[in-house]
Symmetry: none
Subunit: 206 residues, 4 copies
Amino acid sequence: MDKKHEVLTTVKDENLIEKRRQQMIQAAVSLFKVKGFHRATTREIAKEAGFSIGTLYEYIRTKEDVLYLVCDSIYNEVHTKLSEFTPENGTLEDLENAVRHYYSVIDDMSDEFVVMYQESKSLPKNALEYVLKKELEMVEIFQKILVGCIQAGELELTEAQAKLYAHTLVVQGQMWAFRRWALSKEYSIEQFTELQIQVLLYGMKK
Amino acid sequence: MDKKHEVLTTVKDENLIEKRRQQMIQAAVSLFKVKGFHRATTREIAKEAGFSIGTLYEYIRTKEDVLYLVCDSIYNEVHTKLSEFTPENGTLEDLENAVRHYYSVIDDMSDEFVVMYQESKSLPKNALEYVLKKELEMVEIFQKILVGCIQAGELELTEAQAKLYAHTLVVQGQMWAFRRWALSKEYSIEQFTELQIQVLLYGMKK
Amino acid sequence: MDKKHEVLTTVKDENLIEKRRQQMIQAAVSLFKVKGFHRATTREIAKEAGFSIGTLYEYIRTKEDVLYLVCDSIYNEVHTKLSEFTPENGTLEDLENAVRHYYSVIDDMSDEFVVMYQESKSLPKNALEYVLKKELEMVEIFQKILVGCIQAGELELTEAQAKLYAHTLVVQGQMWAFRRWALSKEYSIEQFTELQIQVLLYGMKK
Amino acid sequence: MDKKHEVLTTVKDENLIEKRRQQMIQAAVSLFKVKGFHRATTREIAKEAGFSIGTLYEYIRTKEDVLYLVCDSIYNEVHTKLSEFTPENGTLEDLENAVRHYYSVIDDMSDEFVVMYQESKSLPKNALEYVLKKELEMVEIFQKILVGCIQAGELELTEAQAKLYAHTLVVQGQMWAFRRWALSKEYSIEQFTELQIQVLLYGMKK
DNA sequence: AATGAATGAGGATTCATTCAT
DNA sequence: GATGAATGAATCCTCATTCAT
């Protein structure tokens, strides 16, 4: 459950595996976005990726493997991008900037986010567990920043509150991806971000 | 697009239609919860509902109709329950109570919520539009309360801010349904609700 | 392992099941005879049986079920035919007649025999066990007749010998089915039978 | 049709061809024994043989070639082993010893025998004809010994009877390979052999 | 000679939907 | 109104074979 869920391959060349999987993931995301996991066929995925159905199956075992690779890849990308920005001062400004950075990552990858959250329930059990673990890691990133602020005396929260607020921050970012159809009519991502920072950090009461 | 999406029937007797559809919806929710819309078969739905596949198709046209009925039914139930409680004073206490009421409805119906949000993307175009409209109506309920508070001088927000905060309140409630696997280990629904009210209304800054 | 291996069905009407399965078995035997189990497709089986592929799968779960039904049906038919003729006197004449009867059944059903013995190895484990049990029952029929002859003083054999001779008689009959391509050039079934009776019962030494 | 069926090769070096084919045959027999010809894949055969799928196809043209090589190799081995022992006196003792020798060869190679007889039906037409010819040659070996006994006055049989008895002797030997699952519980190969000699040469009547 | 990545035709199975009873 | 047998398009996946390196 802790270990990375392995996707078995017939092919041996590691570089080739990486290359083909990138093609595959990109193809899959663009198809899942439009039709969802179940309505996208393995043939379509292969074609969109630029190779034959036979080749697709040299790099995966089942269609669900594709979904897993997509989810794993998205999490890794988000993690990498968030890690580029790790504030360490424990100021509220740091927290604000972390949120801004995260929300901009979501804006860049909102198709991927929507696909991941809508389809991950179709993963086989242990792949799902792995993905949920990754989700918690995302929450922990924010939790650590919050704890930093608490220790620096900038925030006055219990551990339990900090954890919940971390969830809140993560979910509010996802909201932008999921409700883009409604929200983008009214706000730009920058407006959205600043408004959210206002209410989440400082409350909506005047 | 604005009108209620109609589900055609062979049967004439309105009472019977209502009865069979309730059986159907209940069966579908419990199946979709476990296997999702795509993996649940119409045969299973019919069986779980207590009648034959032939009978199922007397009351719907396509499998997607079942999903639509499920979503429609959930929204109506939530609407009804929220309408039981419509505060009109424009106090912050009213707002808090509205949130409490909404979050407790979500707690009661969290399976239904999860099913609805995970599967509604599989609705045909115009049924989806109808459902999204319903979703906006939910947001508007909170928006109105917020506007009430603004007018009463309890909150100091622009219209744009009020709308976004309404979304936030709605989404944070759904968070309880979607992240129950993680959150319920740490908080009861009451604790969750009070903590959320704290941060959303009054901010997390000390 | 002892119980009859069950083949699950979607259809409820028992008479219909029986009818469709007979069509299926007949179609399968004629195809397996020509192409073997693996090269015959389920579509061909359905078509030959006179219904659609969908209908075929209403009456079976897997392609191997077809093979099992074929084997089971053949054994039952042979058993029934052999049971029509059960000598009880313990004379050598009885034994001879039993052999004659068995060999003529094999002549009638040699396609079926060949199919069954060539393909039964493809059965899933517990279906195979069931079929092997049936095979032993066939041997036992002859063993009993032999024991009858021993008790009547017509033959002087140990139990162990009787069992082996029963196998021999059964296998020699099957030889007619398997080596028809060579044997029928030289002998009619009647000649074959009488020559076999000679050597098996009375030896080839002058 | 009479000529040896040729398996074409890209490779020139005859020694290498022989070596690779031996690896291939051994691998194939062990796989066919477990999974049968159809379920064993060419990839598995190559891997078990210790080389790549590409290399496998340097030494054969089609998968059926592998099966042919297996059958051919088994027949040749049996022939060689039987030829080591060719009695020429025309005594019944010679006949008995030939049978003993043959049955012990079968005991040594029973996996190979089972594979050959179960799978040879999958050979392409002219390879099958070649193999059937080989089978008849096996029968002829015994037929010759029988004729020797007849000429020496030890047996009193017509040509037609001699040929049938030759088939019988060959098939009874194969019985040991095919019914090992049942027979080996009751008899050792030596017991089996002696009992068979008794009944086949001297009859079971007291 | 050896390798192994690529191919795609082919096959088993599923399941939404229909329609005769 | 209710039933459930029949249908066949759709889909996942396999595997023999090829060919560039």
